[in-house]
Structures are given as structure tokens and as C-alpha cells.
Amino acid sequence: MSKETKGLSRRDFLKGAAAGSMSVAALGALGGCASSNGTESSAAETTVVAGGTYDVMSQFATTGRNQTEGVVAPTTPEEFITMKGDGKLQFAPGGAPLGITPADFMLNVPAWLGTAPDLGEPAGTEECDILVIGAGNAGSTAALRAQEMGKTVFLAESQTYDEYDEYACDMACYNSKLFLDKGTPEIDPLDIMNEYVRKALGHCNWKIVRDYAFRSGEMLDWMVEKYIPADYTVNYAKTSNYKGNDNFSGECAGQKSFRGMTQWRDADTNINMWPFVIRSLHSAIEELGGQMKWGYQAVKLVQDADGAVTGAIFKDIDGAYQQINAKAVIVAAGGYGGNADMRLDLSDSMRSLTWAYGNDRTDPTTLGGMGRDGSGIRMIMWTGGTMEGGPRAGMSIGINGAPGFAFGGAWPCFGPQGKRIMNESMCKFGSNGYLDTFPAGQLLVNVTDANWESYLSYQGYGHETMDRSADYMVEVVRANMAAYKTGADGFPVRSFARFGNESSTVYAAETLDELADLVGYTGETKTNFLAEVARYNELCAAGRDEDWGCDPQNLFPITTAPFFANFGTTGGIPFNGLVMLSGVNTDDYYRCTKGDKSVIPGLYAAGNTCGNRYGIQYATPTAGNSCAYALTTGYVAGECAANDLM
């Protein structure tokens, strides 16, 4: 970039204009855009990109209607059987070529993928055995595990040491000593594996799911016993059986839910401590002889003539390129939730939901995502890797479509007509699609009463209830609820529908009639609401929800004042979740594969870069499984890479 000014500078003009010695017309004389009459072509013009030209609807509407001679429908069962059994295949006529060219709807190389950049000669080159890209959850365990197994490991991270931040806090690991020693019952890992596979509708790599079910507890104990300072674990690892749900049966509406979440928080401030605690793993890597490469942003992988991956090239914080050669590379650079273009193309299920509201199909901001930039996935694909098939999971859960709501069905939910609309104990498993069939702006109201806390003890361990993940948080919620205020302004309760340090507004009333007014039920909907609460209370007394099948253990009447509600509406922008959970295809040992399922030698993926874990939608048999899954895949992938080099 040049610093040279062309002709007169802005400052010269400013001074000249102020002194009256230089006119705007002089600019025109220089060939500038100023016009002496002070007019100009209007505002910023948008570049219009020509789209496809094919009109699907007009073509489709005329295809195959009464156009095939000799095709007659059967009128009797005998004729039907004869026609089906005559050995002739009958085709619907249709099939006229649609004349679509790939440019109309599908590109072989998606625009977000592009091609690997040509970077020229790097400023420096270093060597190691195993190079891990990304010092998040998966990368940190991958690097430490491989280093511990005797390999020389470099862990490269695009953030600098000072900038470094991580976002997860809840961590679901099964059968760890940390839990078992506190009396948490052991869980059959096969149950865990099967539940996750079931939630993925089988659209997953079973071995990777199995690793998580069987080895996440081992991984947690490994970190805690060997590398995390004991006082950090004592002070910050809250394992108090998530949400105090002592009465929960272990299964809800046919879905299993397991204990095992550790939440890394400081009790005094409620601050998420994991971004700090994870640094103990980085220190351990260095103590064992590995290296942290902070401020190293991987730009592309290096391949030899046979296609094996032999390193990567990084941009350092000064903008210089650095190469690191390695015998194996593990990419753990997170997902693509923070890359708007990839999100629009790959996040197919959430994209369809936002489109279903008629939102602009070219606007990726209407399907938000908070993860990383997808660079890990792109780099792998440039070497021949492939992306997991769709529909692809975003981290959306429960009744996320309704702003302001608790994640799932902690309380009975009343819809726009004042009536219940679903099995609330089921919706933690995903009801986005259902709520998105409602017109936008329809009221959804959660209601509970003075016994709210005892009801919670029957809730499971997923994201189906208000967040009171540890005892000290329960105290805060209790205090907030006890200090309730009636009236139209509501009152703040921490973690009622939000979590962490954020509070949400809850409305309180001494009668259900007043509560209905507060939340906005009027006229017929108010009558409906009051009748529906009475009906709900009858169902609770009977112990069976005839209407929607709510799990009997979650059927609690709304009878005792004060009554509480919070509400949201349908429509708007769906909650797409925190990260994207689909990634590249690998074999059972985290080795990246090509389209023909052959392995790309030397290349591994872990964490959200690695696909085939969640299938169609994120699920929370235990809250916090995303982070722990990443940690576990890293732990096992590090082991696999080290073993392959033995």
C-alpha cells in the first residue's frame, strides 16, 4: 500500500477552502468527482449479481399433466392388481428435462471454499512431529496427549497469549472418578452411546460417539489428576449434580438424560473459569517439551507430491508467513459458525427455518452463529477432504425460537390462543421446526407458581430447565424469586430464561387473572388461558396428560400464589445456536478422508472441525456435551496421531 499522495492533499484543500483561496471548482479541474453545483450521483450503489435464470415454478406447473396417452387409472381392486402385476413398469410422465444448469442452483466449488492461496516463500520454517492447529478445547487435549506420548508437538493458535479467550463453561463427561467419588452412580456407557446415536438418527460415526461415551470421563480425570492444579478443581469445578434435580427419574418422555456436567465457575463472581483453567494444559505442553505458537493463524496446509499433509503455513501477528513442517497435522480450529458465507451454504436446517419466514435468502445475518471462521474445514477441503452430509446440526435446542424463553420445557407453555400447544417435557429435544410453523409475533407464555423450585427437582440434566447449575446459583435464583415484584415492569431473575450472569424479566401476580393481563392475554385468549390452566391442573391431578403427553413426573398444578410467567413470541430470527457442529469426514481414527473414503495421509481432525458426531441436531442428554465432545475427540485424536507415528 502506498503512502504517496496524488497531487494536492486533503489538508491543502481544507486550509485553502477555509481561507477562501481554493474553490471546489478547482477540484473539478483536477478531475475529481466534485461538481460545482454540489450535486452527485446518489448514494452507494449496490453491485447486482446476476442470479440464475431458470423459473422452476412455471416449468414445473406444466410438466406431466394429462400428457401421456394410454395411461388409465384402475377402477376396481382386480384391475389394480392386474395392472401392478403385468410386469410393465409404469412411469409418471413428467421428466421433461428442466434445463437447469449448475450455475442455477449448485456450484461444484462453493464460493466460500475458494482455493488455497499462493503465499510465496515463508519467512521461517520449523519442524516438529505433530502440529496441532487451534488451541481451543480439542486442540489443547490433542497436543497434550500427543506430547505426553513422547512426540514433539507444536500447538499453534491464531490468538495471542494475551488475547486468548474460550467460551465454553459446562463440560459433560461420563463416569469420571471426579463424579463417582462424590457418589454419582455409574452409568452404562452403552446407554450413553446409544442415546447419542439415537439423537443423531444414526447420522454419525459410531466409533467417534463411542469414544465420547466411553472415554470422556477418563479424559476429565486425566486433565484433573495430571495437569489442572488441584486448587482450581476444588475452587471452580462445580459438580453438584446439575440443577439439584434430586427427584428426576433419569428418563423423560422416553429420552434418557445423564449426570456428568462439571461447570467451571467462580462462586463469588459466577465468572466462567474454563478459559483460564484450560491454560494449565498449555503450560503442561510446554513443560513436557512442546511449544505453544501464539498469534499463529494457519492459512493453508502443506502437502507432498503424494498428497500427504506435511505441515502448514501460518500468518503471524506481524503479517509474515511462517511454515511448520510435521509428520502429522491435527486440525482443531473449531467450526464455521462465525463465517457468514459458510453458514448460509452449510447450515441447511436453520437456513430453511429462517427462509420459511420469508427472510432474505441472501442474508446470512438472519442465521447467526458464534463459532470460528471455518478456516480449518476449508484448509482440509483444499487438500481433498470432504464435508459431512446434511442436514447439518447447529447448536439449537429446545424452544429457542421463542425469545426470552427458558431453553426447554421447565414450565407449562401456553400459546397464542391461551392454550397449551405441545408436550413441554419433550421440547428440550428440539421444537424449532414446530414453532416456526406459527405466524410471527404470536405469544408464548411459560407459567409456574410458588412451588417452582420443587418442580425443578424433577427436571433432567439437559438444557430443559432454568439454569441453576450449582448450589450457589440456586441461592441467587431463590433470592431473586423471593424478592418478586408484581406489576407491568416485571422483575429480574438471574438465569430464569438466560444463563451465566444474565438475568431475565419475570412477571408476578397474586392471581392468574392478573397474570394473564400482564403477559398480554385479553378477551377470548384470556378466557382460554384461565380455562386451560384449570384443565392442566386436572390433568396433573390425574397424573396423565391426555392432551400432549407431558411426562407424568413433570406434571405439576399451577395453584399457589404468587404466579409467575415469562414470555416470548414466535417468529423473527431463529436462535441458531452457539456453534456449528458439522465438520469434515474422518475415519474411526480421526484421519481425514476424501470422497472415496481413502485417508489423506498425515491429516487428522478433532473438535468441531471433525464431523459426524451430532447428525441432524444438537442434543443435550447432558448439558455441556459440546465442549466435552471436543475435548474427548482431541484427546483420542492426539493418541491416534501419536500411535500412527510409533
Binding site: 496524488k6 484543500f13 478531475g31 452507494a44 479467550d165 458464534m370 426470552g404 416485571g490 450472569n501 413470541t569
Partner: protein
């Protein structure tokens, strides 16, 4: 001496016009580059960097005491582009060490991909254009962000429980948004971790009467005052000590160096206005004579 200025150089403000808006809201008349186009946004940020660089030596007698990134939703630019731009400014201009950097932003742009770079850029204040926090009116006023994301962004990315980075923009006067909806929105904002708030008057066809706006504003002022906010400039509210230095500077007539599409520099007694033609700007942002639309003495 203005806050943050060392005294040795002339204190000025700096504005970077990053006028991106994926879709204009029907209550906002801001002139912006519409549509999502990653390539075009990157090209624009490169052009902006060229303009910044080519002007640098001309302003070596000045010290920048506050920077504003706005003119649209500046956070639509990638974190990397924003941080590269800020690095360039720090390399080539004198920027006061404590100069606040305010960014007009949307929560849909905040992620693990952008946040590390916004941090690297040194952004100290975010004005999130949420427009509403009340679930009933939200979907009418914000067609870009998921309200469900808001607490996550505050808690996990801004760490707003300890930082004072969070600011909000809320819209007042939109037809169909009841007084109670607006009041609930303000209540939610005030109870949260926000340290400053801009109330934006709706414009266009779907606006309620002035009397209704006044009623809504009176209610907002009451709520905000009860939570310790003061109106330090018209429709700008902040907790004591969190007033926007850029806004205050503008109000007091401080000189402002502005770059980007349609940017207005006010300095040395004159105002120079950049072209608002994108093609011209992209083609010649490093040539003052090509991109300047007008230069006029400041009216006295």
C-alpha cells in the same frame, strides 16, 4: 485540555465510515451499502485503508482522542479487516493511549471468529443496534439478530458483567410498538449490564405521533434515571463516567478527521465531504482529488 490528549498536539476525533447494512430498516433513513457481499466489504475495507494511509503525514500535528466506527453496521466488516485497519491507524497516526473506540455493531456479527480481532483492534465500546429487547415488539424492529443470542453475547463475549463495553441502540416511536413494549425494552436494558444507550427516533411512514413519542421518551427517562443513567446529550444516556467521548467532542465542535464513503472531515475551518459513490471510492480512495465531493468553509 480534552480528556486523553497529551497537550502537545491538536486533539481531534476520528470517524471511519463503515456503512454496511444488509437490509435497511423501514424506520431508518441512513444511507448505506445494502446486501451481504463478503468480497465487496473486503474491497471497501482495503480502500478505506488506502485512504487512511495516504492522508497520514498530513495530520501528524494532530492527536486522535476518540475514534468512531459507524455510518452503518461497522461490525459487518470482518474482525480481521477491522483490526488491520486499526493497526494501520496506530502505526501512522498519533492516537491517545486511552482513546475510546466505539463501534456501531450487530450481535449477529459477534463470534469466536470476529471477537478476537475486534479485541485486537482495541474496540472499547459497542453500540449494538438491538432496537428492542422486548420480545413482543422485537421481531418488528430487528430483522437481523436473534434475541436469544443477546445474553450469550453479553456474558461470554463481552464479559459485560465486568467490562463497561456494552452499549445499546433502541428505537422509539415505531407504529405498533405499544408504550408498555418500549418501556419493557428500556427496563430490560437498564437492568442489564449496559453502560450507555442511544435512543433512535424512528423515521419514515410507520411512525407514531410526536405526542406519543414524547410519552414514550418520558417513560424511558423515568426508568433510566431510576437506574442511574443521565441524558448527557439529546437521546444519549449513560451511567456517570460512561459518556461517549466522541459524541461529546462532536457536540462541542471538535475537529474531526473522517474517512470512507460520504465521510465528512471538519478541520481547519472547512468541511470536506467524500463521495458517496461506491464505485468511485473503491477505484480511487487514495486520490483525494477523485473522491472529494465538496470542500466548503464551515459556516460561522
Amino acid at each position: 485540555m480534552i480528556d486523553g490528549n497529551s497537550g502537545a498536539k491538536r486533539p481531534i476525533l476520528m470517524k471511519l465510515a463503515i456503512p454496511f447494512c444488509v437490509k435497511k430498516c423501514d424506520f431508518c433513513t441512513r444511507d448505506a451499502i445494502e446486501g451481504w457481499d463478503t468480497k465487496r466489504m473486503h474491497a471497501y475495507m482495503e480502500a478505506l485503508q488506502k485512504e487512511i494511509l495516504v492522508n497520514a503525514e498530513q495530520f501528524s500535528d494532530c492527536e486522535v482522542t476518540a475514534i468512531h466506527l459507524g455510518g452503518g453496521i461497522a461490525s459487518n466488516a470482518t474482525g480481521q479487516d477491522v483490526s488491520d485497519t486499526m493497526r494501520l491507524i496506530r502505526q501512522h497516526y498519533t492516537v491517545a493511549e486511552d482513546a475510546p473506540i466505539t463501534m456501531r455493531a450487530a450481535i449477529c456479527n459477534i463470534s469466536g471468529a470476529s471477537m478476537p480481532f475486534f479485541k485486537r483492534a482495541g474496540v472499547t465500546r459497542y453500540d449494538f443496534e438491538m432496537m428492542s429487547l422486548d420480545p413482543v415488539s422485537y421481531f418488528k424492529l430487528n430483522k437481523r439478530d436473534s434475541l436469544g443470542d443477546f445474553p450469550v453475547i453479553c456474558d461470554h463475549f463481552l464479559h459485560s458483567y465486568t467490562n463497561d463495553t456494552l452499549g445499546l441502540v433502541l428505537a422509539v416511536g415505531y407504529e405498533g410498538v405499544r408504550d408498555i413494549d418500549f418501556r419493557r425494552s428500556v427496563n430490560d436494558a437498564a437492568r442489564g449490564r449496559m453502560s450507555h444507550l442511544i435512543v433512535q427516533r424512528c423515521e419514515g411512514d410507520s411512525v407514531v405521533s410526536e405526542t406519543e413519542i414524547d410519552t414514550q421518551l418520558a417513560s424511558a427517562r423515568e426508568v433510566l434515571t431510576s437506574y442511574g443513567f443521565a441524558e448527557y446529550a439529546p437521546l444519549r444516556f449513560a451511567k456517570p463516567g460512561y459518556e461517549d467521548r466522541y459524541t461529546l467532542g462532536r457536540a462541542s465542535g471538535m475537529e474531526t478527521l473522517a474517512f470512507g464513503l460520504g465521510a465528512k472531515t471538519r478541520m481547519d475551518g472547512a468541511i470536506s465531504t467524500n463521495t458517496s459513490d461506491l464505485a468511485t471510492y473503491l477505484a480511487a480512495s487514495d486520490d483525494f482529488s477523485q473522491i472529494t465531493f465538496s470542500v466548503e468553509p464551515v459556516a460561522v
